[in-house]
Amino acid sequence: MTGTRSPAETDAMLPLWRAIVVFRGGAMLVAIGAFWLDREVYPSFAAAVGLLAAMAVWTVISSIVYLRPGGQNARAAVIDLAATLALLSATVLVQPWPALQTTAPILASVWVAGPVLALAAALGRDGGLAGALAVGGALIALRQRIGDQELFNLTLLVISGVTFGYVATRIRATAQQLHVALAAEMAAVERERLARTIHDGVLQVLAAVQRRGPALGPDGAELAALAADQEIALRVLMSRQPPAGEGRSDLTSALRPAATARIEVVAPVDPVWLPSPVVDELVAVVREALTNVERHAGPGARAWVVVEDLGTSISLSVRDNGAGIEAGRLDRAVADGRLGVAASIRGRVHDLGGRVALTTAAGDGTEWEITMPKEPPAGHGAALALRRSR
């Protein structure tokens, strides 16, 4: 088994390789039968039997390799192609040149199609096509002419190689999809099972610790706070994330992990889809704003992160109920470093094509209100790409 292939894929491909082996064996018997009927044509009976014996040995070797999981790959198929072409060119040793250029039978006949199918199975349509052209080219070189028969052989080889390769690719892709779907299904079932267990046990205890802790004094209150944070972390872990797709992510599920006992994430039930880079950037902006709340809003301040879907745009608010800033002192606050992140947040949001409003009042906390179109306006993609590459 190679490192890149899943067991499911190897299992799915096995029948194809078995078919190649059966074809090889059958073609060998056909070659022997054809030789027996035409045995008078060959100048040297012993030389022809010798070549047939070499072909039979290679048939057995390649069959053994193809039936082992480690041998079902392009390397084995290419070696098979080389050996087959060598045996095909050995025909000149058993048939005189002039005869070959007329209608004399070629000993190897249909047997030479084996590596074409193997290449198709290993590399798909293009592998099948390349193998067919190599074998067909060798046949033409052997006859030293391009007649109806040669073109017919070439066409047959190309059709079977390409068809077989296409089928192999489809089987591989289907096996991969099935594997991914099964893995997702198993993960979902397992998550459900864990969620049930956690809900019935751990969460109830954590909630009880939060309720009873504060009554036991400062140590109890500390335990309660710890339990609260862990409860929220567990719940976020258990909550099901909608599958992201086509470069879009759900802003709400990206923001949920920011929740703590003091920070609430408020959002609608339905996912809020935005381009994934925009979501990453907004999460970074929210984290910056929340870090600022932690530093400057004062002890005991709480914060709310509010996501609203406004149709063609979204609104994202980060509000705290902390100390706030007196009217007219905003500039000084910026200078004092109490709003050191202001410039950074403004810059980031403007780069995304959004707007920021900052409202604050002494004793009434601070609120960042971000409005962002769902589709970034033209020209903002470049700024975003630049920022992300830094």
Binding site: Q210, R211, V236, E264, V306, E308
Partner: protein, 216 residues
């Protein structure tokens, strides 16, 4: 004395809440661990407030809420649940619950919430306001006949609740009376519940008519 019933599938939690509320002077008349028992006992005991968990083992607190509200119209349901069960919270509120509190809330907050629920107020968290805003926007975009709409004032109030402002802070900010703010909040809930009842009835009628048609 306010008569309270506690519904939760977890015995430790159920008894804990019942004892805490008893200590705060409430008359805890019953407890139940699943939806069927909750509806049956509530119909018999007619409590003023049912404190309802939403995950009741194999049964659902949303169904229990709908049953309790249908069979005991005088009883109010306060959902006491967890933040991760958000679609459930919205469903419970649409089914007739008049408030929602997270389980991690302190005893003081629970006490306050039960008292306000008994008084007929809507107990709102920021999270529930966010869910309602989302639901009204969904209804507005969906081609549904008679979908309820929020007035500009109600939207404004709801958005401030979602941002964590208390009714008193909102009243100050919008220069309204505290009572007016409470009324706005309650209206947003009532409209949605009424719409949900109408939808359920319409659905039942449609199902009934379909069932009466002769089978071919």
């Amino acid at each position: 004395m306010t008569r309270v019933m506690v519904v939760d599938d977890h015995p430790m939690w159920r008894e804990g809440v019942a004892r805490d509320l008893g200590d705060r002077g409430y008359d805890v008349v019953a407890t139940a661990g699943d939806a069927a028992a909750a509806a049956r006992i509530a119909a018999t005991m007619q409590p003023d407030v049912v404190v309802m968990d939403l995950q009741l083992g194999s049964s659902s607190g949303v169904d229990a809420t709908r049953e309790v509200v249908a069979r005991s119209p005088r009883t109010r349901v306060l959902v006491l649940s967890a933040s991760a069960e958000q679609p459930d919270v919205l469903d419970a509120v649409k089914a007739g619950a008049s408030g929602y509190l997270v389980k991690s809330a302190s005893l003081d907050e629970l006490d306050d919430a039960v008292r306000r629920t008994a008084d007929g107020d809507a107990v709102f968290s920021a999270g529930l306001a966010g869910l309602l805003l989302g639901e009204y926007r969904r209804l507005r975009d969906a081609p549904e006949p008679d979908a309820p709409v929020l007035s500009d004032r109600e939207t404004e109030v709801l958005r401030l609740v979602a941002r964590g402002l208390s009714a008193r802070q909102i009243a100050t900010r919008l220069t309204l009376s505290h009572r007016t703010v409470e009324n706005h909040v309650q209206n947003t809930l009532r409209k949605l519940q009424l719409h949900n009842r109408v939808e359920l009835t319409r659905y039942a009628v449609e199902q009934g008519l379909t069932a009466d048609e002769p089978a071919e």
